[in-house]
């Protein structure tokens, strides 16, 4: 009898822990968890307002849905994937780096690289022109100031600084 009682008490205690363990694994999502996911999404009706700050009814419903999904044990990526499948890629705050949208990432990088190459070429061109033994190039006359005065002015400015 007493033994049975101890056993059942133990079982009950253990079940408390079990609940606690389950809770720790799937703690009920907080608003911060929802916002963490919502930050990465845009709803299709509110242009340029991220989901985590949008106040329309539709967006509130989306956030409630995210909360339910997180509560059901979905990962952040699963939730985001779900919205992409439902509403298309436009819900993503950050365009994907694959397919056509990779162009949005690539082109700025490519243009900077090309720009650097062009700038390097141009600067080198200017320098070699100087090195070539042609007529000593005059600095273009700025206004009516004679070049030698301009030269001295430059020198002075340099000294003042």
């Amino acid at each position: 009898m007493a033994r049975k009682l101890v056993l059942s008490l133990l079982a009950i205690t253990a079940s408390f822990f079990a609940v606690a363990v389950v809770y720790a694994q799937q703690r009920y999502p907080t608003d911060d968890d929802v916002n963490r996911v919502a930050k990465q999404l845009y709803c299709p009706v509110c242009p340029n307002t991220p989901l985590d700050v949008c106040e329309t009814k539709a967006c509130q419903d989306w956030r409630a849905q995210i909360k339910d999904q997180l509560a059901a044990g979905w990962t952040d990526d699963q939730v985001i994937q779900y919205f992409v499948e439902q509403y298309g890629e436009r819900v993503l705050a950050e365009p994907r780096r694959s397919g056509f949208t990779s162009f949005v990432w690539l082109l700025p990088v490519v243009s900077i690289v090309i720009g650097l190459v062009v700038v390097a070429q141009v600067l080198r061109g200017w320098k070699t022109k100087r090195a070539a033994p042609v007529v000593p190039a005059k600095p273009a006359p700025a206004a009516d100031i004679p070049p030698d005065v301009l030269e001295r002015l430059e020198e002075e400015l340099r000294k003042v600084s």
């Binding site: 907080t30 608003d31 911060d32 929802v34 916002n35 845009y42 242009p47 340029n48 307002t49 991220p50 700050v53 106040e55 298309g88 890629e89 436009r90 819900v91 993503l92 705050a93 950050e94 365009p95 056509f100 949208t101 162009f103 949005v104 990432w105 082109l107 700025p108 990088v109 243009s111 900077i112 720009g115 650097l116 700038v119 141009v122 600067l123 080198r124 061109g125 200017w126 320098k127 022109k129 100087r130 190039a137 005059k138 600095p139 273009a140 006359p141 700025a142 206004a143 100031i145 005065v149 001295r152 002015l153 430059e154 002075e156 400015l157 340099r158 000294k159 003042v160 600084s161």
Partner: protein, 692 residues
């Protein structure tokens, strides 16, 4: 009657603008000065005429004449007189008229001030400004007329918007107007929109002079740049003020805890600012070295085209945005105008390339010229990335049929490194000499800022690292402190040179530095302002904290070392047609009471639009920004709050003010100008001091 007067003022302005543009070109081509004089007189009358039109619109807005369609649209009985006046730029018709008015003001001012000096360029300046003005006044006249009225047609019962009375229709006067969009009912309405518009329109002056110089074949010398230098600075200053005020306004009313959302319209405003900034820097190479002449013209064409493009995006709602308050039929004509401006200017430049011969020469790659070119590349690169990201949703829709979103993460990741490189250049470039910089000397002058910034960064790492282990943040901090120290050292060097040579004390020496070379030292102040703003951005990007939660009476929500305790929430009717729900909560730091905050949610009943009003506890170090997100509206016993802790955000605003002061110093018309000129021309200028 009054509106007919306004309408005719517009009509006459339109005709006069076209006449002035044509007569000016005809007079210049055929060398008949009387036509040029006549064109100038015609152009000068446009400004008072448009002023009259603007005043009539404002009169209607203030006296609430709802028969006028524009007044019924943007004004209402509940609005204060202050807001009614600002409603002039609160809707499409009014803001376009305001645009034209500002542009005519700039055009008149430049014609009056510069008529004697730049006689050869003036006819074409009139041509460009009046041609542009004719387009904008034409839009007002034929597409979005601010003087259109509401008419009731008894036979069909329809309400018609038309300038003149349709057959059989009677004037219709609604009981009340719609009123301004609730987001615009804010004190910021007096600041951000007009300054932005002044900035946008102001760039027409350097653009017009550049085009005039191209046409007359005088773009090779720097007259057009010297004439417009101050005008460009003024336009740029207003655009900068507009950007800063816009950021502040967004922080105050948009309720998301930030100041810059990479919204298409924000981007549209940033792009001309970026290219304009590149222009302001690279004209110095033209002036000092006679180089980059073609490039400068390209930059001003780009800047002006982007300014018009910005107006196009803002005013046509072609890209969804928080600013797109109205959609309209003027999209196509606007797009054609932008294309003609841009391509036509480039074509002209191409035709006149031979007049732009420049002697490019460089003693060393290690020179200020190189850094200027690099800096130009970075500004253009950022402008391109922003342009590409802003227009990509449209491109994607055209190509693949699916619209996508390009949100802030894209812009931050792409432009962040480029902005960082710019901050580095900003610290280093002023130490470089023109033509050639000796490496050893450079190393010496960079040593102190370098060591200082490393010390600061390491110290910050020790203090903050356990809490915020972000290596990017430390890189940002190092950049900011390096650029700040390098710039401050420039002041110190300049002052020390004067103290040695003139025997002045430190303050006097600093004062003389400024008066002797406003442009240079004003520029350094601007750089310091940018560094301060960059510090704020680093804080906001890397150290921002936020939390959200629902709490009952007496319960608390904690973030970082702050705790917010909920007291109560109540609803009451507010002015201006809004229902207000206001929560009261107490803010504690480390358990110590600081202040009571009252975040609100205002609901505008007619527009069915909520506006979140944050409650902010602000200190130089950080802001605690509290939003009321939701509430229990039956028992009023619980509320949902969102709390942001925004570190260093006030450095953004302080940096903005510093920036503006610096620009004012650089642009100020000074009595010293004449003295400075004679100083330059004096044949035997005394040798400046020894020292560094």
């Amino acid at each position: 009657m009054l509106y007919d007067l306004g309408y005719f003022a517009l009509l006459i302005s339109f005709v006069l603008a076209i006449y002035a543009a044509s007569a000016a070109v005809f007079g210049a081509q055929s060398k008949r000065t009387q036509y040029i004089e006549s064109a100038r007189n015609a152009a000068l009358i446009v400004f008072p005429l448009l002023t009259l039109a603007v005043l009539i619109v404002v009169y209607g807005l203030v006296t609430l004449d709802f028969n006028q369609a524009y007044v019924a649209d943007v004004s209402s009985r509940a609005m204060s007189p202050f807001l009614r006046v600002t409603a002039l730029w609160g809707g499409q018709q009014g803001s376009l008229l305001f645009w034209s008015w500002l542009m005519s003001a700039f055009a008149s001012a430049v014609m009056i001030r510069k008529w004697q000096r730049d006689r050869e360029l003036m006819p074409y300046v009139i041509f460009v400004t009046m041609g542009t003005l004719a387009f904008f006044v034409g839009l007002s006249l034929f597409i979005t007329n601010p003087f259109a009225r509401l008419w009731h047609d008894p036979s069909t019962g329809a309400i018609i918007t038309a300038v003149f009375q349709p057959n059989g229709a009677m004037a219709f006067v609604p009981k009340d107007g719609e009123g301004l969009n609730p987001l615009l009912r804010h004190f910021g309405m007096i600041g951000h929109p007009p300054t932005t518009y002044i900035g946008f329109t102001g760039f027409v002056i350097p653009y017009a002079f550049a085009i005039a110089a191209l046409i007359t074949g005088k773009a090779g010398d720097d007259e057009w740049i010297r004439t417009t230098r101050r005008w460009t600075l003024v336009a740029w200053l207003f655009l900068s003020i507009g950007l800063i005020l816009g950021g502040r306004w967004a922080y105050d009313v948009l309720g998301w805890g930030g100041y810059w959302g990479w919204d298409p319209v924000e981007n549209a405003m940033l792009m001309p600012w970026l290219t304009g900034t590149a222009f302001l820097h690279s004209v110095m190479i033209h002036e000092k070295r006679g180089m980059l002449k073609v490039w400068n013209i390209v930059l001003i064409i780009l800047t002006y085209s982007l300014a018009v493009f910005g107006t196009f995006i803002t005013r046509t709602g072609v890209i969804g945005s928080v600013h797109a308050f109205s959609k309209s039929a003027m999209g196509p004509s606007f797009l054609i105008f932008v294309a003609v401006t841009f391509l036509g200017s480039l074509l002209l430049l191409f035709k006149q390339l031979k007049t732009l011969k420049a002697e490019h020469e460089l003693d060393s790659l290690l020179s200020r010229e190189s850094l200027f070119v690099l800096q130009n590349l970075l500004f253009l690169g950022i402008a391109f990335a922003v342009f590409w990201g802003t227009t990509f949703p449209m491109i994607s829709e055209l190509v693949t049929g699916t619209k996508i979103t390009v949100g802030p993460p894209f812009f931050k990741k792409v432009t962040g490194p480029l902005f960082a490189a710019l901050v580095l250049l900003m610290g280093v470039a002023p130490l470089f000499a023109w033509r050639k910089q000796a490496a050893a000397k450079l190393g010496k002058s960079l040593l102190i800022p370098f060591i200082g910034s490393v010390v600061i960064t390491v110290a910050a790492a020790f203090v903050h690292w356990p809490r915020h282990p972000y290596s990017f943040a430390l890189v940002g901090l190092w950049l900011v402190s390096f650029a700040a120290l390098a710039t401050l050292l420039e002041f110190w060097r300049g002052a020390r040179a004067r103290m040695h040579s003139q025997g002045e004390n430190f303050l006097v020496a600093i004062g003389h530095l400024f008066s002797r070379n406003r442009r240079r030292y004003g520029g350094y102040i601007i750089h310091l302002g940018v560094v301060m703003m960059a510090l704020g951005v680093v804080g906001d990007e890397f150290f921002k904290a936020e939390t959200q939660g629902t709490i009952g009476v007496g319960q608390s929500l904690a973030v970082e070392n702050y705790t917010l305790t909920f007291e109560d929430v109540r609803a009451y009717p507010g002015s201006d047609g809004r229902e207000i729900v206001e929560a009261t909560a107490k803010l504690y730091r480390d358990g110590e009471y600081i202040m009571t905050l009252k975040p609100r949610r205002d609901y505008f009943v007619v527009q069915q639009q909520p506006v979140t009003v944050p409650a902010v506890y602000s200190t130089p170090g950080e802001d605690v920004y509290v939003l009321l997100v939701g509430w229990e509206d039956i028992s009023w016993s619980a509320s949902t709050f969102k709390i942001y802790v925004n570190p260093l955000i006030n450095w953004v605003w302080a940096g903005g003010v510093t920036f503006i002061i610096g620009t004012l110093i650089a642009a100020w018309t000074s009595l010293d100008d004449k003295r400075a000129a004679s100083y330059v021309l004096r044949p035997e200028a005394p040798q400046a001091s020894p020292a560094s």
